[in-house]
Symmetry: C2
Subunit: 321 residues, 2 copies
């Protein structure tokens, strides 16, 4: 017998794995699989793997499926359905994922940049449900973002809006891989953060981090910094404090420009938890214009595990609502 | 006989003068007056002066007036019509200008923050006519802004959006009167600029600026810096180059966040002309993300003299279109 309620297939296209789930309209994953992306095998193989995965999850299911949502890295044209040059997908070029997938299934297919899908996921299922307008910030290798304005995704002129990672907080600051200087990503993006801490670590021989990395700086990761901080290490604490100060400066610029005062932070680095959120909150509040000060909210994302699948499935509910 | 075409009354409420004009739908001022604001006399006097001025300009006119637009400093609630705490209006508090003015005239009254009115003026009459989306930047005592997105004013959650002046370009930079640090206004706003140049001037005893200010730093102004630069003064040129670098960093953040690539610059400091525009353009282009690089445009505002009157009158044509 068919299960009641509405469901969607969410596809989280990652560089290593394609995670696929069937998600209820309340955001519950009722079935989940993962297949290898095989990005190095080229576009055709990746597309084949996506379709194989969807076929697999739809096999003998009783759910009323309303559509398929795909969250993909890279530049996405949501109308055409094209995904362009996702990082870590060699030789990808431009691929029309809607066309490629829709012809094999009877469902409507939606595709969206993964940072935007995360924002839509929080809006439909997560911490953004209560807010008409918010800015989603995803902290990871890079710093991604998505702007939700009056319950709609803000896309800008050509759909590329929300690049919060490339807001400058110090125009003479460290070089960013985008070619500019002092972007917030160049301060708090995983790679930059780890690189900077590695350098500074040489001046902090008494830090507990040394023990946690077994004296090998190659073992350094955001998680280790977090662990050291939880053990009371002053150097690790100062790093988290700086991250909050930096993020707060970027978010204050966003808030002053857009008159949006709710921020939802997700991604790996957000695992730093309360200590990081506290300093971000203080930093933004200190920096925004007076009318915004009492309104600023910095909240943790609610979709944690499988946020990618949930965000992708949320596209189906968002676009059909 | 009545003149053909549509006309509007534009009221530019300034701290010293209230400038009022009758403006055609093409943006031509057909009649213009100026009355003293008398801000120091308090709210009632200011409101009386506004109404006196409007009565005066409407006296024995044959134009088909479609409405009255008022551009006011301070926080404006365009729906209610209230203007709150405009700087340089002592004891103002909150005044409903729509109510106060509309009861004496048979026309619909619109009120708008003056920075937003400037943006709407450029959209309806000026350099923004050709562009669906652009960001207006007004350089003066402060740095103001307005965001036009798909031919609509972007207002944010509570109507306070567009505070470009308070985008940080250096989170550890000079203190801004807003309480934050390193806001672009604290770099290029007139007062801050003049103050900084005064300090630096002591190290540039050979600068042509000294002659132009007759050796009295109190005479320093943006215009003097511009004059010195036109005379080939290296120090003055370096100031303009820095301004361009600073503004470019702020605008690049805006462009990356909003995916808007057209900037229209107005206000006094924009009088620096081509040399300033060239460096701003280079700085933004160097700093924006790759897909934006070939799209970035930095244009001078078209409404120069009486931009305030024209912007205010544009509210009438914008809101009734």
């Amino acid at each position: 017998m068919a299960k009641t309620g509405k469901f969607a297939v969410g596809v989280d296209l990652g560089g290593t794995n394609i995670k696929i789930g069937i998600v209820s309209e309340k955001g519950t994953i009722v079935k989940k699989i993962s297949v290898k992306t095989q990005a190095e095998e080229g576009t055709k193989t990746v597309v084949k793997n996506i379709k194989k995965g969807i076929q697999e999850i739809l096999k003998s299911n009783d759910y009323k499926i309303r559509g398929i949502g795909i969250g993909a890295p890279g530049v996405v044209d949501i109308k055409k359905g094209t995904v362009e040059n996702p990082p870590n997908f060699p030789g990808w070029g431009r691929v029309n994922l809607i066309k490629a997938v829709a012809k094999d299934f009877k469902y409507k297919v939606h595709v969206e940049n993964d940072a935007n899908a995360a924002a839509i996921g929080e809006m439909i299922f997560g911490a953004g449900k209560k807010y008409d307008s918010f800015v989603m910030v995803t902290l990871g290798t890079g710093v991604g973002g998505g702007i939700i304005l009056r319950n709609k995704m803000y896309r800008g002129e050509f759909g590329a809006a929300g690049e919060i990672g490339h807001i400058t907080i110090d125009y003479k600051g460290p070089e960013c891989k985008c070619g500019s200087f002092g972007c917030i990503e160049a301060f708090v993006g995983n790679q930059y953060l780890v690189k900077r801490v590695k350098e500074q670590l040489q001046d902090h021989k008494d830090s507990k981090i040394w023990e946690l990395i077994q004296n090998n700086p190659e073992n350094l990761s955001p998680r280790i910094i977090q662990n050291a901080s939880e053990k009371g290490d002053e150097f690790a604490k100062s790093i988290i404090k700086d991250m909050g100060l930096h993020l707060g400066a970027a978010l204050a610029s966003v808030s002053n420009l857009l008159d949006i005062s709710t921020f939802i932070m997700g991604g790996g680095v957000a695992g730093f938890g309360k200590p990081l959120f506290d300093v971000i909150r203080t930093s933004v509040t200190n920096r925004v214009l007076k009318p915004l000060k009492h309104r600023v909210k910095v909240l943790p994302a609610k979709l944690k595990n499988d946020a990618g699948i949930k965000g992708a499935s949320a596209l189906v509910f968002y676009r059909s609502s």
